[in-house]
Every structure is written in C-alpha cells, then in structure tokens.
Amino acid sequence: MNHRTEIRFLLNGRNVAVKDVEADATLLDFLRLDRRLMGTKEGCAEGDCGACTVLVGRLQYGQLIYETVNACIRFMASLDGCHVVTIEHLRGENGQLHPIQQAMVNCHGSQCGFCTPGFVMSLYALWMANPEPTETEVETAIQGNLCRCTGYQPIIAAAMAANRYGTPANDFLTKEREAITNRLTALRDGHRVVCGPKDNQAIVPSSVDDLADVLAEFPQATLVAGSTDVGLWVTKFMRPIGPAVFIAHLEELKAITSTESGLEIGAGVTYTEAQASICEAFPHLEAYWDRIAGQQVRNMGTIGGNIANGSPIGDTPPVLIALEAQITLREGSVIRRLPLEDFFIEYGKQDRAPCEFVESISIPRTSPNQRHGAYKISKRRDEDISSGAAGFNVTVEYGIITAAILAFGGMAGTPKRAAAAEAALTGQPWGQAAFTAAGKALETDFQPLSDWRASAEYRITVARNLLQRFFLAHDDQSADATDLLSA
C-alpha cells in the first residue's frame, strides 16, 4: 500500500516534513526541544493553563480556520496538513510589535511574563475573529489561560484596546491567507499516513472508510480525536497509546445536519464547531456550553470523544441523555444505533466493540410541552471539571407531568438517569410537591462519592437543589428563578 511515512505541515513560515513521528509525540516538545522555539511555554502539560497556546490553522471544506490549541496535549500526528503559528511568528507592520503585543505592553498585561505568550495567542485569535469584543467575550476567549500575577484586569484592557493598535485587515495572516490556503491544499495528497516505530505507531487515515479499514487492521488502536483526554494519558500518566489512529481531520465526521426531526452531529465535531447549531436548536444549552472547559479545549475536544471516553463527569452526556440523544456506532460498514444512556454500562465500561467507533450523535427536536434545563456545578465557574452536572427534560401536558428524564453526571460511576426521582415526578401535577418528592427520591437513585471536587453530602444536596432550581425556572408562579452564574 502506498502510505506516506512522514507528517507534513507548515510551521510559521516554513514547510516541515517530520519523519518517524511517534504516536505520543506532542507539538510542545517538538517546538521546544526540536525546533528550540522557546516562546511557547510548558505550564502544566495537561491543557489547563494555556501557557503553551499556539494557533493551528486547518482547511475544512476548503475554508482556512485558525484556532487556539494547547500545544502540550496536541499530538504531532494530528497536525498533518495544518499551519502551526507560534508566538515567534507574530509581527506587526514594519518590524513593529503586533497590535496585540503592543496593547499588552501599553496596558501592563504582563508581570512575570511566563503566561504571556499564551495570552497573546489567545487574544490574537479573538481579535482576528472579533476585533471589538465585549468584556464577556474576552473572558470567554481566555477561559483556558491562567495568570497568577496580574489579576487579569490589564489583560482584559489590552484585549479591548487592541484594535486601536491595528486591525485584522492589515494582519499578516490575513494578507497571507490565500497563499497559506494554497500551500495547505498542496499538502493534501489523499494518502494514509503511517509512521513511527511499531510499538508507538501513528496512523492518520485518509477518510472514514479508510478509518474503518485501519480499525479492522488495528483493533486495539487508540482512537484520538481532540486529544484533550488522551493527551493526558501521555503527559500525565505516561501510558503507551500506540498504535494510535488520529481522526480529528476527517471531514466526514464533522458534518452537522439539521433536519426537521433533529440534529445529527458527526463524532468529530468539536465543541466550538457545534456551539452555534446546538445552541440554536436547544437554547437552554447556551450558558452551559460556555462552561465546557476553556476555549483551547473546546477548539480541540469533540462531542464524540466526550461520549466515547465514558467518563462519569463528561459535560455533554447528562444534557444529551436528557435530550434523548442516540449514538451511531460503526464497525467496518456495519452500523448500529442505540440510546446514548445505554452506551454507558458501568464505570470504565461502554457498549463499544474494539473495532467500533462512534460515528455520530443524533438529537431529536424538542416539543413545546417539554421543559428543559442544563446545569453544571464546579468549584470554579469556568474551565473546571464538574462536581455535578444535570440535564432535565420534563414533559407537562395539561398541568400533569407525563414524562421526565433527569440525567446526572458526577453522581455515579456513569452518567446516569435518576429513575426513582423520575418516577416521583411522572403522573404528578407540575408543582412544588412533586419536585420535593423527586428531590427526596434522589437519595434512592444515587450514593455519590466524596472526592477532591465535592463531598457526597454536597453532591446529593446540590442535585436536589438543581431540581428545585429547574422547578423555579419553569414555574409561572415563581419570580425567583435567577441562575447566578449563567446570568
């Protein structure tokens, strides 16, 4: 077979071709150790501090898209055909500082300076997309960047002032857009890439059909989409992942199809890509979506991956279960569908055969007599793993609750519905009494763990209170339904 054995991409201004790329080789190590591009820093190596933020440009349906990513958990093999832009590449006109850099200097946005290149990259991406952002938009763009010195105020000020120092129209990436597009197009040769040593092999399939073939050939391969979880297996736990199959680039897995019956989302769709469609179809998810990780992780992580890794504290399963989502699994050309809730068998065990992969998620349209809620509880508002999450879907007909789906994350070994609480609601008139009873029934449904995120007592109390929050939010009698952090 005619496989390519090297990864090709653009690094700043140059074409690079890297041979022998191992499955677990990261972009950050390549930049710092191989290329000695020292502006990109390692702060945590787990995608949580943003000091390693770089831009990755990629062609999708012919469009060149630049997004911030965490270089620490981005695997080299996933960069095939991409444009990597690091802090060293940033420049203004006539040898001056880039407008973002100048704004950061003038606003005193750096103190120790270690997080600064990462912030500059995040603000750069924001400015390109949205040169006159609101304060909230800036906060969202830097959810994935930690600063321990400044308290953020001067960084926000810099983001808001940047457009005074230069506009995206004059930016070098804007000017080079066509040339870069051509160069990236030229890198696409339609070949599967196979490289690295046998025990640490990286495989980049050329299409979804090719992926099915690859999995038949390597049934034990690690499937890597956004690498926001698998990245940590490597950087934190030093677990071998080879052979690994990289699928983030597969356009066929990136389709979002909106029909009368619902929304079908390809498993490779990232949180960022899904945001607009999801929030339009399911407006109750709008505030929730912004609280999934930070911007860089939303740009990398996929909904398919969030489901497939089976975590009991993933952000999307509870709200998708509440929406009665189904997933499609594929093995070779064989396809099967199952309700998302049935995918999660027990902690660490999902209903997925070794050669199978999650191909898509479909979410039916909601009906007007359904009442929806989506809640995330975490120690810190943004970029935190939930101590508890909930998706509620309660059908009310003529004042009677005729169906209830109450799905929780963080309450058991899997994302799980609260059967007893659902039963307590079903058939009852919509009202405080039913919700009080359902709240009590949660203690039958769940015996949560105590850990560093939350105690069992807090988890069960807050789960009960979220039902109350939901009741207040949808009760016409109640004038007190504010959800503080979503406001």
């Binding site: 949580d48 501090c49 950061m104 103190q111 308290g151 810190r380 007190d480 503080l484 952090l485």
Partner: protein
C-alpha cells in the same frame, strides 16, 4: 479603570522615580523572547534528572531496589543519599531536619527518595516510576488537629506573645465568645515550575541556573551538599515565571540535585519536575486551625483576646518558625487588644514541608482577627464595619497604640483611608440596599464587607534586612546595574533602575538590567517579605551616589570649580558655567583614572526583635490598605460571584504607580483565590489529590470582580526614610481579598436573618457556602 496609560516621562529624564513605566521586560514577555531557566541553550551532552518519590505518607524504608530504573532506556545512573559528597541536608534553618534524600524513613507521600539521571527528561521521568521500594508503613497524621491528637512534636519552637493581664481581661469581660476557624493552605501555582540547570566547571566549580528568589541560599546549600566552599558555586537567575514565596527555599532540592549530578557525571544536568511533582514535592502556604476566645463590651470594643494558632507545617521546619511567628504578629490586624495572649503551635505533620507564601503567615493571622470582629458584630447585631472602627489602633497618647509584641503603631493612617474608601465605595448606601435586597430575594443573597489591612514591613530575622548592589559605568557612558534582588514579575528591576536613573539623572534606557548572580553581590537576602525594592533600591542608590560623588569630585577638579556647582540633570552635567554630557564626563573621568564601579550597601535602621520575650520593633513601618467587596451567592448551589470590589491601598510615595497598582490588583485576586476556590485536598493515605490546575483552581478572568476600582492612596508618604518615601507592596494587598470572604459570610448569614455568625471555614468553596446555608437554615 483605565489601564491603557501611555508611558510618558513627566520629567526631562525618562523613567525616573514616581513615574509610570512599563515593566522593563514587557516587550520580551509579549514576544516570547524573555528567557527563563528552561529556555537557556543546553550544551551538547546535557543530562536530565528526575525525582523518584515515596508512595506512603510515613514509613521506614526497608529496601530500595533501583535496578529496573537503571536498566530503563536512556538512563545514565541514579542518585541516592549515598552519592552526596557533602552533607545530606538542605534545611534552610540549619536544624538539619530536611535531607536531600532520606535514608531511613519517609515522612510524606511524594517525598523525593532518589533521582534518576538520563539522556532525556522523558527517559528520566519514565524510569523514575520503576523503583521498587519496600516500606514498613507507620501511622501518619495529616493535619494539625490529627497531629496534636497523635502527640506529634512541634517542628520548631513555638512563640508566645503576651501583653496586659489576660485572666483579668476575661474576668471583667461583658461578653465573650469562643470559636474555631480552619484556614486552608494555598499552592503557589507559579506558571513556571521549579527548575535548576547545573553546569560543572573546573576544580570544585559549578554554575547553577535556577528559578529562585534566594540565589545566595541556593548557592550556600549547593556548596554544603557538595562539601565545597561557597566560592565554588555560582547561582544565576535572570527572571522567574512567578515566585510568591514558593522559590524562597523550595528550589534548594532541585539546585542540589542538579549540582550533585553535574559534578558526578561531569555533564550539564537539568532538573524540572512536572506540575504534579512540583505541587506534591514542594511546600505551600500553611493551613491553620485557630482557636480564639475574645472578650468585648456592649459597643463591640475588644477587651481581651486569647488565641492558639496550630499550623500544618509538614514534616520539617523549613520556614515554619518565622511563618507561624508572623501569623501571631498579624493576629491583631489593625486592632488594639488591651489584654492579649497569642500562642503558636507549629505542628509536625506527615505532609510536604510548608513554606513561604506571599504574606508569610500574616494573612492567616488577619483572617483570624477578622473572624473575631465578625463574631462580635453578629453577637451584638452590629455592622461589622462599626465594630472594626471601634477597635482600630489609636494615635499617640490615647493608650491604644501598642501591639501584642510591644511595638508602637506610629504611622496609623487607617482612619482616613477607611473613611475615604467608605465614601467612594458608597458602603453605607450599598449595605442598606443589600439588606433590602436580601429581604426580597429568595434564592440569590448578597453580602458586602469592608476590611482593613495593616502589614508589618521587615524580615523578622533582623539580619536579613540588608542588601547590596553593584553598578558599573563603562567608558561609553552606559550603565550596568546589578543588585541582590530577584525579578519574579513584580517589576523590582524596573523600580531599582528608576532609582538609579533618578540619582544619576540619565535616561532609563541607558541602564542595563542584568541577571541576579551570586558572583556580583554576595550574601544577599531572599527577595521576600515585600522587601525587594526597599532594600535593593537603597543599596543601588548608595552605589549610584558613590559614583556621582566621584564624578562630581572629578568634574570640580578638572574644571577647577566648587563641587557645589556640579549638578546632574537631564543626561547632562552642569559644571560651573560649563555643560557637559554625562557620557563625555564619564569618558573624561575614565581617562583621568576615576574608579567607575561602586558597590552599594543598605541595612534597615531602627529594628530589633527579642523573640524569646516576644518584644521589640520587628517592623520598620506598616503598609495599610482596605477593600470593599460585594458578592452574590446562589443559595441553591453555593456558587457565587464577586459583583464589585473597591480598593484603596497605601504604597507611600509610589516609585512607579502603575506597577504598584498591578501588584495590588494581582494580590487581591490571589488572596481572593486563597479564600474561595483554591482548595488543597489530601486523601486518607496522605496523597495530595489537587496537584495540578485541572484539580486545583486558581482564579480565572471571569472570577475577578464584575466592577473593580483600584486606587493608591496618593496622599500617603512613608514617615520613615525609605527609598523615596515609598512603601513595600508585594504582600500587604494580598489580604485585601479577605473582604470577599467576609462578604460571602454576610450573604450566608442573611438566610438566618444575621442572627448567627456563619463561621465559614476557608476556602469558602461553593460546597462550604451551600453547606453553611443549609446549616443556618436548619437552625445552626
């Protein structure tokens, strides 16, 4: 608030004192060209070390089989206690309770037991996991209360501060309240982790690049571990990616391991732990459990205070002595205690040895003081601010100026500062509005609090209050500035260069700021205790003044004029009727063989401290500040948001207002983080489970107050002769974050109509807030 101030010299020379000037490395920061330790080019053959750690909290090491480690790919060798040529000790106190690697016993989960050295960091890191260590597990105690119950010893001698007649104070008291508060620790979470890079030289020499706030200590420690004199060891640091106290002593281990390995294999050796190891193997802010007993009258005026401060010190003393001392020295915060007894209990625990962190125990003392104020306010149904005002230190002659450690408070500016902030923050009107809001709102509740800070400036270790600087003027007129302080983001180098620019009346750009190195200034103190600018600015001024005097004498002689007629201004020097450029004067001076290098020195006057008696003047002066925070809490989930914070802070006559403001803002957010979302959590086995940013949550941009008004008290001037009458700024504003904690407490108290002090422990995570709400709703 506008940050986008255009840096503009208001005087003829650029970058002089009392002007806004951006951080000297700002352009390097934003372009990624600022060089940190890990960015230094590695010579060929550089090896990498990584630590192998203990997997039990307390146990005898029965055997350590490192054969698999040695056999791992890329491994060059291992380092154990047996490889240490000098002394196996890195205790900064000299108590010899902190080995590089223990030999018989491990005393905390994650304690470094050996190091592996390999051709790459990755190889070393992977190999370190392969050790087979057999332990005889012993009982462990993780927190100060467990440690007290288990009869653990103190790691260092406790302190007692006593003034007045404590028994009598309580016997005549109108009211008294006894309570306990648990105050959590804090990880530094500097973005740049610990790192050391040692390059061996000839003879016993070794150069160590290290991210350290205390190069001299690293130097002395490396020498001591290698068994060589200090003159063989050079420690360099250009800048750190944050320190906050975490690199005052915690770098010793890394510097020592890198140096020992570099000498053993005669190769450059770098060691950089990953974030998990950085957080588990290095010390943090001390957790405290404070038992307090406070007596007070009808007006809320304190009559007597009895406090016991038990701290989680970890397995060794490290800096726990001065940290727990400082907790007691700030347990009065801004309040006069007529009768007082304060005792520390620096408990030995089976956890990593806790260390310096911005405020150095002071914040825990302040939180305890504010808790007592809160208790009084709830007991009497008063606004806590009213109780605060009733208890502030007084003015000379009113009998209310003596601290528990017998130092007179001579510079109290809090009455003015508080009243200004109370007015600009519209405290009273907003408090009334919040009380009304809380009556009407069922789920969301608000709270507001205005809290003061008074923070003592100087190292309590009196000998630390000294500094040196070295200035060279080259014969082209360019200036090379060096001093003993280290740059960790605070802008120390910028401020010191401003002092020199002002003294010599030359442009800031003429002065080259250089790395801190033990080769240029010896026996320096840690850049800590907020003292960096106070000490090093004065030392640099001394050096600059010496050079100026030599140039003046030379000019007077050369032009045959009275030295009085020689003045330096605007890059020029007026000599009698003549004007000569600074560069020309320097060149002429050089030709005339004038010594153009000077070493400056400074020691803080007036201070003395008798620890055994608990008496003296440990502090040269106090820095003050106050903040007013408003929060909303969600009583269904415990989540909260800081709606607004107003700050008025005292930095004396600021050397650089915009940098000082940056320190104030950053410190507030860090202090807020400590008391809200930053939670350290150990499991029963003694493993720290919050050991990376995924599990340990420092504030993000969206956590900062929705409205944030920060001002410096621009009318303040240090009454002491500090550098240009400025005041230290590093630590004092950290405690401004206490107002957020107190505001949360008020919001919680509202669910029981403010009848009860909610007694929130810190950090007030959403969980703690919710459980306190539920507790108060249920009736206490």
């Amino acid at each position: 608030m506008k940050h986008d101030t255009i840096t503009k010299a208001t005087q003829t020379v650029s970058g002089t004192v009392h002007t806004n000037r951006h951080h000297d490395s700002a352009e390097k920061h934003v372009t990624g060209r600022a060089e940190y330790c890990d960015d230094i080019g590695e010579p060929q053959g550089t090896l990498h070390a990584y630590l192998g750690v203990s997997s039990v909290a307390h146990g005898l090491i029965k055997s350590m089989d490192l054969s698999a480690v040695l056999a791992a790919p890329g491994v060059v060798g291992v380092l154990t206690a047996d490889d240490i040529p000098g002394e196996n000790d890195i205790s900064p106190t000299g108590l010899k309770d902190e080995p590089v690697f223990p030999t018989e016993k491990t005393e905390f989960h994650g304690q470094p037991l050996f190091a592996v050295v390999a051709e790459s960091r990755n190889a070393a890191r992977r190999a370190a996991e392969l050790a087979k260590i057999d332990y005889e597990v012993l009982l462990h105690a993780l927190d100060p209360l467990e440690a007290q119950e288990a009869g653990h010893p103190f790691v260092t001698a406790p302190l007692k501060l006593e003034r007045g007649e404590i028994e009598q104070g309580f016997s005549v008291a109108d009211h008294w309240i006894k309570g306990q508060i648990k105050i959590g620790g804090q990880d530094h979470m500097y973005l740049e982790g610990q790192i050391a890079f040692a390059i061996p030289g000839e003879d016993d020499d070794v150069v160590v690049h290290c991210s350290t706030q205390h190069p001299s200590e690293a130097q002395h420690m490396v020498a001591h571990v290698l068994g060589v004199p200090s003159n063989a060891v050079t420690v360099n640091v250009r800048r750190m990616g944050g320190g906050f106290g975490g690199k005052e002593s915690q770098m010793n281990l890394f510097a020592a391991v890198a140096a020992v390995a570099a000498k053993k294999w005669n190769c450059p050796v770098k060691i950089r732990p990953d974030r998990d190891q950085d957080m588990t193997a290095t010390g943090k802010r001390h957790d405290f459990v404070v038992d307090y007993n406070v007596a007070f009258d009808e007006c809320g005026r304190i009559q007597a205070v009895d406090g016991v401060f038990a701290a989680r010190c970890g397995y060794s003393a490290d800096l726990s002595g001065p940290v727990t001392d400082r907790a007691l020295l700030h347990a009065d915060n801004a309040y006069f205690y007529p009768h007082v007894r304060l005792r520390s209990r620096p408990m030995k625990t089976n956890t990593v040895s806790n260390t310096a962190f911005r405020g150095f125990g002071g914040p825990q003392g302040v939180v305890a003081a504010e808790r007592m104020i809160e208790e009084i306010a709830y007991a009497l149904g008063k606004d806590p601010l009213e109780v605060r005002k009733a208890n502030f230190y007084g003015v000379a002659g009113d009998g209310r100026t003596l601290t528990p450690y017998h130092q007179e408070v001579e510079d109290n500016i809090l009455p003015r500062l508080i009243s200004e902030l109370e007015e600009t923050a519209e405290y009273q009107a907003r408090r009334n509005a919040i009380l009304a809001f809380n009556k009407a709102s069922k789920v969301i509740k608000k709270g507001i609090a205005l809290t003061p800070v008074k923070f003592g400036i100087s190292f309590t270790a009196t000998w630390y209050n000294q500094a040196g600087a070295l200035i060279h003027i080259y014969n082209d007129g360019s200036i090379h500035l060096n001093h003993g302080g280290t740059e960790m983001g605070q802008g120390l180098n910028t401020k010191v260069a401003q002092v020199v620019a002002d003294a010599l009346q030359v442009d800031f750009e003429r002065i080259k700021i250089t790395k801190t190195t033990t080769e240029k200034v010896p026996n320096t103190s840690a850049t800590a205790a907020s003292s960096g600018t106070d000490l090093n600015g004065m030392a640099a001024l001394d050096a600059a003044e010496q050079l100026k005097a030599r140039l003046t004498d030379f000019a007077a002689e050369h032009w045959s004029v009275d030295p009085e007629t020689v003045t330096f201004r605007n890059n020029m020097v007026q000599v009698g009727q003549d004007v000569v450029s600074f560069s020309d004067l320097v060149r002429k001076a050089y030709m005339a063989r004038v010594h153009l290098s000077a070493a400056g020195f400074y020691k803080t006057p007036k201070i003395h401290w008798d620890r055994a008696a608990g008496k003296g003047r440990p502090f040269y002066y106090y820095a003050y500040g106050a903040s007013c925070s408003e929060v909303s809490i969600d009583t269904l989930t415990g989540e909260y948001r800081v709606e607004r914070a107003d700050i008025l802070h005292d930095v004396g006559r600021s050397l650089n207002p915009v940098l000082d403001k940056g320190q104030v803002e950053g410190a507030f957010i860090q202090g807020m983080g400590w008391l809200t979302t930053e939670e350290l959590w150990w499991d029963k086995a003694g493993r720290l489970r919050t050991h990376a940013p995924s599990t340990y949550k420092i504030p993000l941009a969206s956590d900062r107050p929705r409205v944030f008004n920060v001002n410096l008290a621009d009318w303040s001037e240090n009454r002491e002769l500090t550098i240009k009458r400025s005041k230290a700024v590093g630590e004092p504003p950290f405690m401004l974050g206490v107002s957020v904690f107190e505001a949360l407490s008020m919001a919680v108290a509202s669910v029981a109509d403010y009848r009860e002090c909610p007694r929130l422990d810190a950090p007030a995570t959403p969980e703690r807030v919710l459980l306190a709400v539920e507790r108060l709703k249920a009736g206490g």
